[in-house]
Symmetry: C2
Subunit: 234 residues, 2 copies
DNA sequence: AATAATTGACTGACCAGTCAGTCAAATTAT
DNA sequence: ATAATTTGACTGACTGGTCAGTCAATTATT
């Protein structure tokens, strides 16, 4: 009986697909076909999403792959069809989540705008696309687990952090040449980014005791660093 | 029979030790034998030191109490004579290491000095007594494990962080009243402390790729925040 | 001798990673 | 079109190993 259903489904799907491809005449395209590749990609995504949940809730060591599997709606063994091992899953998670934003930030840095405008845009991008998304959890995870995963820390430094630092340095150098920011800032781009990091750490530890207005903090910090002419004196 | 051998060995070791001590004491007592309390305190310290090594090398979950015991030169069971369980050991470690510095910082904040002088002193204290000591590792550990130990995060917030924030806020409010710093800074003491935190996180992740000169970074940051030339307002 | 401190073998729970087997889908043959 | 065959994605029970915490036995102290 399950056999029967199986044959039916297989047959009907094949027919539908062939119909779709062969003649556009089909009255109803109805079903978006689940090609093998698509299903595979979707599954990979599901595993990564579940892994992010578990890793950020319990940390790398304490997270159980049984739970990741259950959350992704698959069996544990399936994880090993997509990822070599637990550590590899973690690394791929970090890569998939963070690499994309680096390019964006590099591109933004190239725009020829007054420093303040550029800084505001990048800060806004950070809040919207990192701080207010799951990427925040990934960065928190990197901070927490990085010291114990030298390989991962190196990958992260090479692919993410050094590129962002370099981009910021270029922006700051241009701004310093125009006299928009003190030259000393070029040596420590970290100082400019500091409030973003503070916010991520703070939110993981103390949000429930004392919420933090990230946007306001970053704005305050920029105001202080930049000194727009003269500060308004009361 | 293994029973017999075991008893023999144990006996011989004990006898040897007693003989050694006895012979030595024949001529010079030399050793003021440490009281029970002293020995007990020393042992507790040894366990905490070993725990810090293991926890900061492998993280809370991955650290093995067998290793802590071996490093402290005792048997695993002994740990349980001094600490209720692994988590309790961790919590006591954090408490013992960090609570003492809070009082010092609070006291320093009360000195009636120009802001810049005060800030320099506190920054220097931070570098010497936190950044360049094992306390740095404890803070790193708090950052890494805090999100998964709500109890510990709460304790840390209550006993450490909120007190430091409060002290800084008081200092900043006084300085703002004198026009030494912009008033906006009073709302975000985190911004002033940010480079210190950055340095701790950075050292754990990227020190080996790109060393960071903490003192220089903190000085740069303070210079930028304070603008000696333009402040205070006329 | 009596008491306290210390030991380390042991237990029970836990979990990453494996692999023999299942079944739906794809392919080929009729 | 239908049936037969092949593929490979997927499963989940199982293994081997780990480790926090316990406790009976041993050793040190008073």
């Amino acid at each position: 009986m399950s056999r029967r259903r199986q044959a039916n489904q297989a047959g009907s799907v094949a027919r539908r697909m062939r119909a779709l491809r062969g003649a556009a005449s089909g009255v109803k395209p109805a079903r978006p076909r689940p090609s093998r590749e698509q299903r595979s990609a979707a599954r990979r995504e599901a595993i990564l999403a579940a892994a992010l949940d578990e890793f950020s809730a319990r940390g790398f060591e304490a997270a159980r792959l049984d739970d990741v599997a259950r959350r992704a709606g698959i069996a544990k063994g399936t994880i090993y069809l997509y990822f070599r091992d637990k550590e590899s899953l973690f690394q791929d998670l970090v890569r998939d989540m963070l690499t994309p934003v680096v390019g964006t930030i590099e591109a933004m840095g190239e725009a020829d705008l007054p420093f303040r405008a550029l800084a505001d845009r990048i800060a806004d991008f950070f809040v919207r696309e990192v701080y207010e998304t799951r990427r925040r959890d990934v960065i928190r995870l990197m901070i927490a687990e990085g010291p114990r995963f030298p390989k991962l820390a190196e990958f992260y430094y090479r692919e993410v952090l050094s590129r962002i630092i370099a981009a910021m340095r270029a922006v700051l150098a241009r701004a310093a040449a125009r006299g928009e920011v003190p030259a000393a800032l070029v040596d420590f781009p970290q100082v400019v980014a500091a409030p973003g990091l503070i916010a991520i750490v703070w939110s993981g530890l103390f949000e429930r005791f004392e919420p933090l207005d990230v946007r306001a903090m970053m704005k305050t910090h920029l105001d202080l660093l930049l000194r727009p002419g003269e500060l308004p004196c009361p």
